[in-house]
């Protein structure tokens, strides 16, 4: 029997939305306040959804200790209290929450072996959320 398990995590980080491919005016027009030169921060909530058969022996899709351990060392350690613009994955990409979703999806889908990754959903604020399920 296949079930989907979702776990929510939080981290805080800063970013500035600015694209080298746009002029100064275009950046301001596109990103508005998010283009302010010193950046700003968010409390991000990340939902990781994994799926798989419910193990007969444990009653679990995957052990939460494994999922929490992986997310702590590979996601939270990497992003919490950091400036996203300074990270390798955002050297060329704008650290929008869309791109953050994709970056986190790639880390989990490559590294987490205990269950299948279904999707990554990020709430940037209580008003905005983003989801990525990989390329269909």
């Amino acid at each position: 029997m296949k079930a989907h398990l979702t776990r929510r995590y939080m981290f805080s980080a800063s970013h500035r939305l600015h694209s080298d491919k746009l002029s100064a005016e275009e950046n301001r027009a596109t990103y508005g306040k998010c283009n302010n030169p010193y950046g700003h921060g968010h409390n991000y909530t990340v939902e990781i959804t994994v799926s798989g058969p419910v193990d007969e022996q444990t009653g679990m899709v995957c052990n939460l200790v494994d999922l929490d351990g992986f997310v702590r060392s590979e996601i939270l350690e990497r992003y919490d209290h950091q400036n996203l613009n300074l990270l390798r994955e955002f050297a060329k990409e704008v650290p929008t929450t869309e791109n953050l979703c994709i970056a986190i999806y790639e880390i989990v889908t490559r590294g987490f072996r205990h269950a299948h990754l279904e999707k990554v959903r990020i709430e940037e604020t209580m008003m905005n959320s983003f989801e990525y399920r990989g390329e269909e």
């Binding site: 029997m1 296949k2 079930a3 398990l5 419910v54 022996q57 009653g59």
Partner: protein, 146 residues
């Protein structure tokens, strides 16, 4: 097709233990959840049904009927219970959130006449929930129930 979700809450205690494991394995796999005296959660249950909108009533399902079925089949059995000792499914199955979602699916699916069960979502805490869509569901693998 329209989807309708009804939410409810129940509080229950449980612990995780597999009699086929050694005490050390139980401790390693289940950690704090292995404490045989149990611990509790405030669970939130979301039941989503789907169906065509009835042209006469404008409803997918009679909400009163859905609420009654959830009350009778789930809340009466689970709320303020020690799941391992008082709910038949969990005399043999470990009452993980996964198995709770499957047990609730099994209890509700046959009792909903008009609408079709789409999803059972069980929140163990606000940071952890399980969705069951009836995928690969085999009633014979899941004894107990009403």
């Amino acid at each position: 097709m329209v989807y309708l979700t009804r939410k409810t809450e129940f509080s229950a205690s449980h612990f995780y233990h597999n009699p086929e494991f050694t005490p050390e394995e139980n401790q390693r796999v289940f950690g704090k959840c292995n404490n045989p005296n149990g611990h509790g959660h405030n669970y939130t249950l979301e039941v989503t049904v789907k169906g065509a909108v009835d042209p006469k009533s404008g409803f997918v399902v009679d909400l009163k009927q859905l609420k009654d079925v959830m009350g009778r089949e789930v809340l009466d059995a689970f709320d303020h219970r020690f799941l391992n000792k008082e709910v038949p499914e969990f005399l043999t199955k470990i009452p993980t959130t996964e198995n709770l979602a499957i047990a609730i699916w099994q209890r509700l699916a046959p009792k909903l006449n008009a609408a079709q069960l789409h999803r059972v979502r069980v929140y163990e805490t606000p940071d952890l929930f399980v969705d069951f869509y009836g995928e690969n569901f085999h009633a014979k693998d899941f004894h107990g129930g009403a």
